[in-house]
């Protein structure tokens, strides 16, 4: 199982590196068409940033791609594999390649703070993973991920303001405690909904298996949105004054 998942994860990883192909194209485009003297290193940094965002998103989203594409859920679920084992074998290789990317980011330094952004990418991976069982429309799914990631980002800013305001200056990157807390508020209910769904997951149509998302994830996200709306004005006013 692990070998297959390593192979699948490597394939996804290589597919996500495709944006790097833009580097020679952009270089040639600049040299012969727009003459802006782009540096290869700059083009690489932008392309690499795209890869960094795309990989965790796709790794989480497509974690069950082979089962969906090959119609192999029935086969997988009839094998003598426990649900935690299936999940561990699927998540492990994908996390490995995410860390490979982050190590590369550490070496290349496209970010100001690799640790902080690395954490953000991990959150993006987990949001995509926790939602992957629930989607029926890819457009809605990506909108959901975008909304939830934005919610996490905004909440970490607001928590930063609410809990550590006296110690920080305005508009700085939220500290790691705020990020951890915001991630926990979002990921715990999402993760719980995902796990409860996956624990009992079978080959029934998806619409019959969404109970945990409807009764746990959705109310939790709505509550989080409500709290965000309540505090966002204060935070906004604070962050835009003197």
């Amino acid at each position: 199982m692990l070998n297959k998942e390593l192979r699948d994860a490597l394939k996804q990883f290589l597919e996500c590196l495709l944006p790097l192909l833009i580097i020679p194209v952009a270089f040639v485009f600049d040299k012969y068409v727009i003459h802006s003297n782009w540096r290869i290193a700059d083009i690489f940094n932008y392309a690499f940033l795209v890869v960094l965002v795309i990989y965790p998103l796709m790794a989480g989203t497509l974690i069950f791609q082979s089962e969906k594409k090959d119609n192999a859920f029935e086969y997988l679920l009839s094998l003598p594999l426990s649900r935690p084992k299936i999940l561990a074998d699927k998540i492990g290789p994908r996390l490995l390649f995410l860390f490979v990317l982050l190590l590369a980011a550490l070496a290349i330094s496209p970010f100001k703070d690799v640790l902080m952004n690395g954490f953000n990418l991990l959150v993006l991976f987990l949001i995509s993973l926790f939602l992957c069982l629930s989607y029926t429309s890819i457009v809605v799914y990506f909108l959901e991920i975008g909304l939830l990631f934005w919610l996490f980002y905004l909440d970490s800013q607001i928590l930063n303001y609410l809990l550590w305001r006296p110690e920080i200056s305005r508009n700085i990157f939220p500290n790691i405690q705020s990020q951890l807390l915001a991630a926990a508020l979002l990921l715990v209910p999402l993760g719980l909904a995902f796990w409860l769904t996956f624990k009992r997951f079978d080959v029934k149509p998806l619409k019959f298996q969404m109970k945990s998302y409807v009764f746990i994830a959705l109310p939790a996200v709505l509550a989080l949105i409500t709290l965000t709306v309540v505090f966002v004005k204060k935070y906004w006013a604070w962050s835009h004054t003197g």
């Binding site: 192999a72 029935e74 009839s78």
Partner: protein, 275 residues
């Protein structure tokens, strides 16, 4: 060997099984039949673990150990396998999941399957043979076979059934089949279970069933006999009687009593469902 205990299952609001019970002893070859949508494949999927019951449980003999799935082979009608893998990768995957070293590919050698071919490139029949080969490699105690036999060509069907018969002669193996085409498997089946609206309508050993279901060819309906279904022709009708008793022979004033094979028996029952 396998027991469905107080099993309940539904698709949303559609109830399939409610407090369903069934016991299949070790070594029995059992045929589950019924009209489309009655829950035959659902029952197999519940037994295989591909579906989870809302209530109740499927209990396996302790002989199958702590993880009964290690000794259960399931061939579904959707031929579910990792289609993107090559045959060789599919075999390796299966071996790694079950922790086995050996794989006997003698069966697939007869089917022009090459190890480098992708599973999705195989015909339906070749996929069935590949899946059966994978299952045989785990030395199963229980085989669950969904409605696939009729979808493969006669050569592969013979190969498939010969492999099953050979397996049966080696050791007692419990086989549960869902099928609507009974001609090929008639000689293997010991017990027939007819499902009706989520319950067992008929549960008989094959000899008993053959004795209890008869066809009467007559120009007028046999009075006082339990007619299961009937087929009308221009100058006569065929009446399928269940349960038939020998004393009926004396009561009959006209008509001919005909013995039935399994296909005709099950067709009569299914015809009765639609009547």
């Amino acid at each position: 060997m396998i027991e469905a205990k107080d099993l309940s299952f539904r698709y949303g609001k559609i109830k399939v099984f409610e407090h369903f019970n069934l016991d299949i002893p070790e070594g029995q070859v059992c045929l589950i039949t019924g009209i489309n949508g009655v829950g035959k494949s659902t029952l197999l999927r519940l037994m295989a673990g591909a579906l989870r019951p809302a209530k109740g449980e499927i209990v396996f003999n302790e002989k199958l150990g702590r993880n009964p799935k290690r000794k259960i082979g399931f061939i579904s009608d959707s031929l579910s396998l990792y289609q993107s893998l090559t045959v060789s990768q599919a075999i390796d995957f299966h071996k790694s999941v079950y922790g086995i070293d050996a794989f006997d590919d003698s069966l697939i050698k007869h089917t022009k399957i090459s190890h480098g071919q992708k599973v999705k490139e195989l015909s339906a029949g070749q996929k069935v043979i590949l899946h059966l080969s994978l299952i045989l490699s785990i030395e199963p105690e229980v085989l669950l076979i969904d409605e696939i036999i009729h979808s493969i060509d006669s050569y592969l069907r013979r190969l498939f059934l010969e492999a099953l018969i050979q397996l049966q002669t080696q050791r007692p193996i419990t086989i549960i089949m869902v099928n609507l085409n009974f001609h090929d498997i008639e000689h293997m089946v010991e017990r027939v279970i007819l499902l009706k609206k989520g319950t067992i309508a008929v549960d008989e050993k094959i000899e008993g069933l053959k004795a209890k279901v008869k066809k009467i060819i007559s120009t007028s309906p046999p009075s006082g006999l339990p007619i299961l279904s009937q087929i009308d022709y221009s100058n006569h009708s065929e009446y399928f009687i269940y349960p038939f008793q020998n004393e009926f022979r004396d009561r009959m004033k006209e008509g001919e009593i005909v013995d039935l094979n399994l296909t005709e028996i099950v067709t009569a029952f299914i015809g009765g469902e639609y009547a």
